[in-house]
């Protein structure tokens, strides 16, 4: 690997890590609050991508506006999922999870029926041109993902640690019963968590729309990686999810560069298996009394 490829791969790894982090943080957050396990998380990503396809690609709105609009749309989808799927199935984690597998079907078919299944939707690249960093060239389209993802994650962190709502949400994730005793309304918190999960997955999808071929089935690969990240990160830990996202981002990008995408995904699964055997509670997990 020469230095140009190395720099390029490193930058691509940072891009991939940012996207993985965005997707996985939402999954971990929702799982932390009342164990909402969302199988349709990848489809949230897909809907985010289609939002940009429609708003920017078809209607001609400016790209940043399309991205900004995609976030609340997918957040709304998250809210609806919470209200109509997770809330009625709260007794049983697996029921919610399987129901969202059904939702994934529904969203895939809906997208396929509305916009067609066959040919991938190309979204024109709004920021053509490349940045030269050392000897490497990297498309601006990819580079802007890094600050966007960072901004979203920092905003999320600020929200969770500094605002009243965010603190309530974290209290709820630690112990819902005690949180309820303190007057925190659980239903609001689960709704909020799913809205945030939708928003972050939607943002990731929106940002990736000009880079990926947009099809109804792009969620599948996304959710697989998100699951691996969340398991490696210790299921409900947001910090763990981010660290695992960075690890996976680098592993996946480097293996893709050296071999190919399929092998990279396989290596990801093997990485997960090894983590499970060596540290069953994830890299951030800890034994509790």
């Amino acid at each position: 690997m020469d230095s140009a490829t190395l720099i390029q791969t490193l930058l691509n790894s940072v891009v991939a890590s940012s996207i993985y982090a965005l997707v996985a943080v939402g999954l971990a957050l929702a799982f932390g609050v009342m164990k909402m396990a969302n199988f349709a998380h990848g489809e949230f990503f897909m809907v985010g991508a289609y939002c940009v396809y429609v708003l920017y690609g078809l209607l001609g709105l400016p790209f940043p506006l399309a991205v900004v609009l995609a976030v609340p749309i997918v957040a709304l989808l998250g809210l609806l999922t919470e209200r109509f799927i997770f809330r009625p199935t709260r007794r049983n984690v697996l029921a919610g999870f399987m129901a969202t597998a059904g939702l994934a079907f529904v969203l895939q078919v809906a997208a396929g029926r509305i916009w067609g299944v066959g040919i991938a939707k190309g979204v024109p690249t709004p920021y053509a041109g490349t940045a030269e960093i050392g000897d490497a060239n990297l498309g601006w389209q990819r580079l802007i993902i890094i600050p966007c993802a960072f901004a979203m994650l920092l905003a999320l962190r600020y929200f969770l640690y500094r605002t009243k709502f965010g603190k309530a949400l974290r209290a709820c994730a630690q112990d819902p019963e005690i949180a309820a005793l303190q007057g925190i309304r659980i239903n609001r918190m689960t709704a909020l968590a799913m809205a945030l999960a939708g928003a972050s997955a939607g943002l990731a999808g929106a940002l990736m729309a000009p880079i990926l071929p947009v099809t109804p089935y792009i969620g599948h690969g996304v959710v697989l990686i998100a699951f691996i990240v969340v398991i490696v990160g210790g299921m409900a830990s947001i910090e763990g999810a981010i660290i695992a996202a960075v690890l996976l981002g680098f592993i996946h990008t480097f293996v893709t560069t050296l071999a190919d995408n399929l092998i990279a995904t396989m290596v990801g699964v093997v990485f997960m298996a090894v983590t499970l055997i060596l540290r069953p509670k994830g890299i951030m997990g800890r034994e509790r009394a």
Binding site: R286, E287, R288, A289
Partner: protein
């Protein structure tokens, strides 16, 4: 030789030393009580001895054999079985099924045996033994009730019956009379004594109810902050200044139960 022995046993959770460098020795045929203020490490000690947790350091011996680090089912196979502080039973099973399932170790059924039903005569014997245990515990009349429909006292008794079904040499009871009314408590106390006297089972019990502990145990170990504070006969324990201070420093259980007066 002592039936149960721990040597330098410790269990830490992060910085918290729930059990710390504990030496314990329980003779065959004893009824040994373990007491201590809340958070003294009693339940953690149970969890470590029974194999639910792996010790951070130190060893546990059952009948001279090292059992620390083994799975609870292996330890049960070697004769050490515990009950739970919470009400623990298989709630979709009947009373008899609950006890029968606890004879798993002794039945030792293979997959082929399961398919061809070869162990049918053995099953009869297991069921007879399960009934015998239920008779002893006093639950035989309700053997076909679903276990989650039982009143609290019966559920706790069923927990003991299940432990007995594994044919233990050492029975570890985690707060056996918690939440029981006086009649149920008296019955359980009587039962525990009979288990030792007639069935020759060694008993190790954690209990908050001081009256029960003092009335039942010949020897008591007091824990505080994971350490062994002292050991002795009930009389010595009650008059021990350290013990009184440990309890005064926390919940003051001795006074609450009217024991210190």
């Amino acid at each position: 030789m002592a039936l149960l022995e721990t040597k330098g046993l410790s269990k830490h959770f992060g910085g918290l030393k729930a059990v710390s460098d504990l030496d314990l020795s329980v003779e065959e045929g004893e009824i040994r009580g373990i007491i201590g203020p809340n958070g003294a490490g009693k339940t953690t000690l149970f969890n470590v001895i029974s194999g639910t947790y792996k010790p951070t350091s130190g060893e546990v011996f059952l009948n001279g054999e090292r059992i620390s680090g083994l799975r609870p089912s292996r330890i049960a196979a070697k004769g050490g079985v515990r009950t739970f502080q919470r009400t623990a039973l298989f709630k979709d099973f009947t009373v008899l099924q609950n006890v029968s399932i606890a004879r798993h170790l002794l039945a030792n059924e293979s997959l082929l045996g399961a398919v061809f039903g070869t162990a049918r005569r053995m099953e009869k014997a297991h069921e007879a033994r399960a009934l015998e245990i239920l008779e002893f515990i006093g639950l035989a009349d309700i053997k076909n009730e679903l276990s989650h429909n039982l009143p609290h006292g019966h559920q706790r008794a069923l927990g003991v019956a299940m432990a007995l079904a594994t044919e233990p040499r050492l029975l570890m009871l985690d707060e056996p009379v918690a939440g029981m009314n006086p009649q149920e408590t008296a019955r359980m106390t009587e039962l525990i004594r009979k288990l030792r006297d007639e069935w020759k089972i060694t008993i190790l019990l954690v209990e908050h109810d001081m009256r029960t502990v003092m009335g039942l145990c010949e020897y008591i170990t007091v824990l505080n902050f994971g350490h062994k504070l002292t050991e002795g006969a009930p009389k010595e324990i009650v008059s021990n200044q350290e013990v009184i201070e440990a309890y005064l420093g926390s919940d003051n259980i001795l006074e609450d139960d009217g024991f210190a007066s």
